[in-house]
Every structure is written in structure tokens, then in C-alpha cells.
């Protein structure tokens, strides 16, 4: 009993001795503003720079789009912010997303080509080419079908952005490796913090930022947009081409490629436009497993056609003239050919040379030069 009392007293005196020793206390977190290099014990007084919440950004729809189309489709879990868009823009041009740091999104989606590739098939980091032409990127916030790629296999722009990073014939990276590189970068953690409130980077945040930037890629100031606004007139050849475009007995282009009230110039749906009698690429059919979808591909927009050559999902046509000739005399029958393809047995709508020239003149009025030179869309670094 006595012995125990002595032990307790001893322990008491040790603890008293320790507390009176006064180990330096203070903020021990090196990332804090008031980090104390002498402090050995954290006293909970660390103060940090307060990162402001991201600033909401509202898409500015150009006249023709705001006039006639529903509000843009923005997912609730990825609202647009200035910081998110700026981060997405930097990531769009970021070669660290590829395994050997040689290519970025912009390598195959070049602004001067309305964010597609002028190569028939883009070449990945290992020098391997794909089997489909890169798609142009514009006005995607108004694509309500929300399916991307030529075959629509990805849901949403966020879903789309997951794929090229890991595709073995594209960036051939792993998300783990891509994210580690960004995390180790001296700028990205803070940019993610500013955009998403966390400096812990993950692939979900990367694709969210990319999607935010992509939603700002808006084209709405072509000559035809200005014509619809009443700011200029079209010349007789362009007007004639417009009529051919809109005439079911002429080119009948509008059923799939939009009209003045659908200024996206695409229906964003899938069609077999009579390219081949048999398919080496099943397109939509490979995604749905439905043979009725074989040979169908998503309608691309005609906006900025001048910049987006080569044409079709496989980039088989080098010029706009070749495209017009295809619909005029080159159609091939297959069981899933779209009923809107006319006179298939004679190859198509049989436009005469003057009609073809006029149609091309009209199509070129869909060129939006501002879009391909807009500094907001260029490499920020």
C-alpha cells in the first residue's frame, strides 16, 4: 500500500516536470500561413489562405442559338465556373495527360480546324493511327442527346473525356499516372482547389474541368448567322444554295443538317448516309448491338465546314466538293440506309454542276472565322 503511494507520487512529479519543460508550441503545418519553424507541438492555431468559392459562369448563347434553341444542357453536378473553365482550358492543352507527355487533347482537336484534326486519322503517342476522323468540337452544350463520339458510345462530355487518356492508340496513359503527374505539378493542385475546393486531384475532376471548357466552345457568328440577324445579305449563288439545301426536291440537306431554326446545323442523331454497300465499321450498331443501327454515325455539324476537312467518320473525302458529289451521285445501297437518302439506285439527288457550286457557296456561309481565332480558346501557356 505504502509502496503504491510512492509510485503515484513519482509519476505525478514526472508529469509536472514535463509540463514545466515548455516544449515550443505553435503551428507545425508547413502549408499554413503562420507556420512556426520552431514549434514542435501543434497548438491548433494554424491559419490558411482562404480559397474563395469559384465564380459561377453563364454561357453566352449567340443570337441564333438563344433565339431558337432551348437553354443549354449543363449537368447539375458540374456547373460552369470561371475557375473550372480556366482549368479545363489548361488541361485541354496539357501534354502531361499522355503517357510520354507528347500529346494533349488539342493535338487532335486543333482550334484552327474548328477543334478537329486535319489528318484523316489522328496518330497516338505510339505512332499508331486510329480508324475514325477526329470530331470537331462546338456548341456541344446544346447537344441534348448527350452522346458523344461518332457512334455515341460516351454519355456526356465528362464521360467522353475519360476515354482518350487511356485509349492505347491515343494518349496510352493510366488515369493513376496522369493524376499523379498533375498532383506533383507546382500549379495544378491550387488550380483544382480554386475550381473544385480541393487540391486532391482525381480523374473525375479532370474530366469535369475539360467538359466545362468544352461547353464554352461556342460558334455563332458565321456569315449566315449575320444574315439571319439582318446584318448582311447573301449573294445570289449563296441564296440559291440555301434553297437547294432546304428543298426536299433539291439537296434535301436540312432533314439531318438543321435549318435556320436549328442553327446547330446537325440533328445530333445517327444515320447511314449511303457511304458503303457493306460496312467495315458498324458505327452505332457496334454500340447498341442492334443490326438496324449498323453503318450509322452521328451527324456532324456543318458549321465551320471550311476548316474541318477531311470529312465523314473515316475522313474519306478531302474536299467539300467530294461530299456534295457523294450525295449527288455516289450513294451506295445497304439495308440500313436512311430513307432520307433519295434516288439511291442512281446514286443520289443528281445536282447539276451549277447547283453543286451554289450549295457549296451556301455551306461556306456557315464559316465562323472568329471561332477559330478566338483567344479565349487558345493555349493559355
Amino acid at each position: 500500500m505504502n509502496y503504491n503511494l510512492i509510485l503515484v507520487s513519482l509519476l505525478l512529479s514526472i508529469s509536472l516536470f514535463n509540463s514545466s519543460c515548455r516544449k515550443p508550441k505553435g503551428c507545425t503545418d508547413v502549408t499554413a500561413l503562420n507556420y512556426d519553424v520552431n514549434a514542435e507541438k501543434d497548438d491548433g492555431t494554424c491559419e490558411y489562405e482562404v480559397i474563395p468559392a469559384p465564380t459561377p459562369y453563364t454561357l453566352e448563347a449567340p443570337y441564333t442559338i438563344s433565339q431558337y434553341l432551348p437553354a443549354p444542357s449543363i449537368p447539375n453536378d458540374n456547373p460552369l465556373t470561371n475557375e473550372g473553365i480556366a482549368l479545363g482550358r489548361k488541361l485541354f492543352y496539357e501534354e502531361k495527360l499522355s503517357a510520354n507527355n507528347t500529346i494533349s487533347c488539342a493535338s487532335c482537336h486543333k482550334q484552327e480546324n474548328a477543334f478537329t484534326d486535319d489528318a484523316t486519322f489522328s496518330v497516338g503517342i505510339d505512332g499508331i493511327a486510329g480508324n475514325r476522323n477526329s470530331m470537331p468540337l462546338m456548341n456541344m452544350a446544346w447537344d441534348y442527346g448527350y452522346q458523344f463520339f461518332w457512334d455515341g458510345r460516351s454519355i456526356g462530355l465528362e464521360g467522353q473525356a475519360f476515354e482518350p487518356v487511356t485509349n492505347p492508340i491515343e494518349m496510352h496513359n493510366t488515369w493513376g499516372s496522369a493524376v499523379s503527374e498533375l498532383q506533383a505539378d507546382d500549379k495544378y493542385p491550387e488550380l483544382f482547389e480554386r475550381a473544385f475546393g480541393t487540391n486532391v486531384i482525381d480523374s473525375n475532376l479532370v474530366v469535369k474541368a475539360l467538359a466545362q471548357f468544352e461547353r464554352t466552345l461556342i460558334s455563332g457568328n458565321s456569315k449566315f448567322d449575320k444574315y439571319l440577324k439582318g446584318h448582311l445579305t447573301l449573294n445570289p449563288s449563296e441564296l440559291s444554295g440555301y434553297n437547294i439545301f432546304m428543298d426536299e426536291s433539291g439537296g434535301d440537306c436540312f432533314h439531318c443538317h438543321g435549318d435556320p431554326y436549328n442553327p446547330l446545323w446537325t440533328d445530333n442523331l445517327y444515320h447511314n448516309n449511303g457511304l458503303d454497300a457493306s460496312f467495315s465499321d458498324l458505327g452505332r450498331g457496334a454500340v447498341t448491338g442492334n443490326p438496324s443501327d449498323n453503318g450509322k454515325f452521328k451527324t456532324p455539324s456543318l458549321r465551320n465546314l471550311l476548316y474541318t476537312a477531311p470529312y465523314m467518320h473515316d475522313g474519306r473525302f478531302q474536299t467539300i466538293d467530294e461530299v456534295i458529289n457523294h450525295y449527288s451521285i455516289g450513294l451506295q445501297y445497304s439495308s440500313t440506309i436512311d430513307p432520307l437518302m433519295k434516288n439511291v439506285s442512281t446514286g443520289g439527288v443528281q445536282l447539276n454542276p451549277q447547283d453543286r457550286a451554289d450549295l457549296k457557296a451556301f455551306l461556306l456561309t456557315l464559316t465562323d472565322e472568329e471561332f477559330v481565332t478566338d483567344s479565349r480558346f487558345s493555349d493559355p501557356d
Binding site: Y68, L69, E248, F254, Y261, N262, D267, M341, V344
Partner: protein
Amino acid sequence: MKNTKIIIAGIIGLSLAFGTTSCKKKGCTDADATNYDANAKKDDGTCEFDTITGHGDHNGVHVMMKMEHNYGGSSVMPADFDDLKYLNDKGTTHSITKLQYLISDFVLYKADGDSIVVEGYNFVDFDNTNSFAYSFPTEMHVPIGGYTGVGFTWGFDEADNTSGTYADLNVASWSWPAMIGGGYHFMKLEGKFIDSNTDTTAFAFHNGTASNNGNHEANHFYVKLNQSFTLSNDASINLNMDLSEWFKNPNQWDLDALHDMLMPNYTVQKMMNANGRSVFSLGSIVQ
């Protein structure tokens, strides 16, 4: 769309008086309209209906229209698309690959002579089977009681058929070209058929404004389906579209001759208008 409104007797009297002083040949040709003109041979879009909204009638019920589709009695669902399995009245085998259509301004005809008009439209699209159901606005309480029938407008009437007005239809590339009258498509019915050379050929049976060398003629029509029923509860009213009727009555359709470039063809557009009148029937009413 216009708001549903109550038209009071004084205004009706006024418009009737005005109607009779103007040209006798044109006027309201709908026998159910309050200003029906028995002498009118051509509808001029002035029909007015005695309408009540039912707003605030808390004894009222909610009503939903449900579109069902058949081909000569056999049900047609999206899964039936693409197969060459339909035989039209002329004996031509064909498939359906696309069906979209527009109906607007539903009317419920009450036994006491009043009509309830629901201004609005339903864009039915086989790629979106949710569009088969069309609920009347939730704030709308339809009075319980006896009814004699259901009606609606095929497509848009002139007042509603204005280009660029409806964002959802614009983005669906549903516009009807200005050169043949503008406004919107009323229907896109597409498919393939076995032609007289036994080749498989496409058809695109698109309906909208009828245009004859720059003269544009409204091409909607009113459908009234007579059937007595009593509404006592929230109800789902089935409307049937028999697709075979588009190729049958009164104009037996020759797909070999009429399969594409039908939009700018005035005669063909009026033939579709005539055939469309027997396409619909009233199905079961579930409540």
C-alpha cells in the same frame, strides 16, 4: 401557346355578327365551334370554342392522353421498326423506320354542350416513348361528369404554326421549309418498301403545310372522336393511331409513285390530309 380562356357570350355574338358580314365562302367550318358557319366552305382559322378552364374546381380530375399505335389492328411498338412486315392497302410490303408527329389543342366535349380546350401540343416520337403520354397541365382540374367525345388538332392550326416559335421542335429539326409555307412538320413517317421491281426503296411520308407554286395552304385538321363516357376519377384516355389508314382511305397509296419529295407536292399533301381523318380512334378510358 395561347392561354386557355373563357369566351363570354357577348364576344361570341360579336364575332358571329362580324363573321356573317364578311365573305360567305370563308369562315369557321368546325360544327362544334361557337361560331360555326354552315355556309363557309373554307376554314379561315377563326373558329372559337366555348371553353372553360376548370381552374380552381377542386372536384375536378387530372386527365392524361395516351397514344397507342397499330397497323390494321396489330400493335406497333418501337421494337417493330425496321422489319418489312406491313402490307398496305395496295398490297405493298413496307417497314417503318421512323415515326414522329404533332397533335395540339386537345378538346374534351361535355355532355352539357361545353368544351374544355387544352391549349398545347404533344410531339410524339418513337425514339422517346415517354412522349406517348401527354398529361394535361397539373393545375388543370377537369370537371367530373358526362362527356360525349375527345378532339384535337392534327399538327398546328395557322395561329400556332409559326416558324421558330417552339424551341424543343426547332432543335428536333422539325421546321417546315419557308419556301413551302414554313411552320412545322406535322408528321415524319419513314420506312422502306418493296417496289414493283422488287427492289427495296425508301419512303419519306412527311406532312405539313400544302404549297402550290408559292401559295401556301394550312393543312391541319380537327379530329373529333365521339364516344360517351363519364369522368369520375383521374383518367387516362387512350388514343389509337392506325398507321395503315394513312395509305388507305380515301386515297389508296401507291408508294411506287409517291415515296419521296412529297413535301413540296400540294396534291399529295392534301391527300395525306384526307387520309389522316380516319387514322385516329378512341380507345379505353382508364380511371
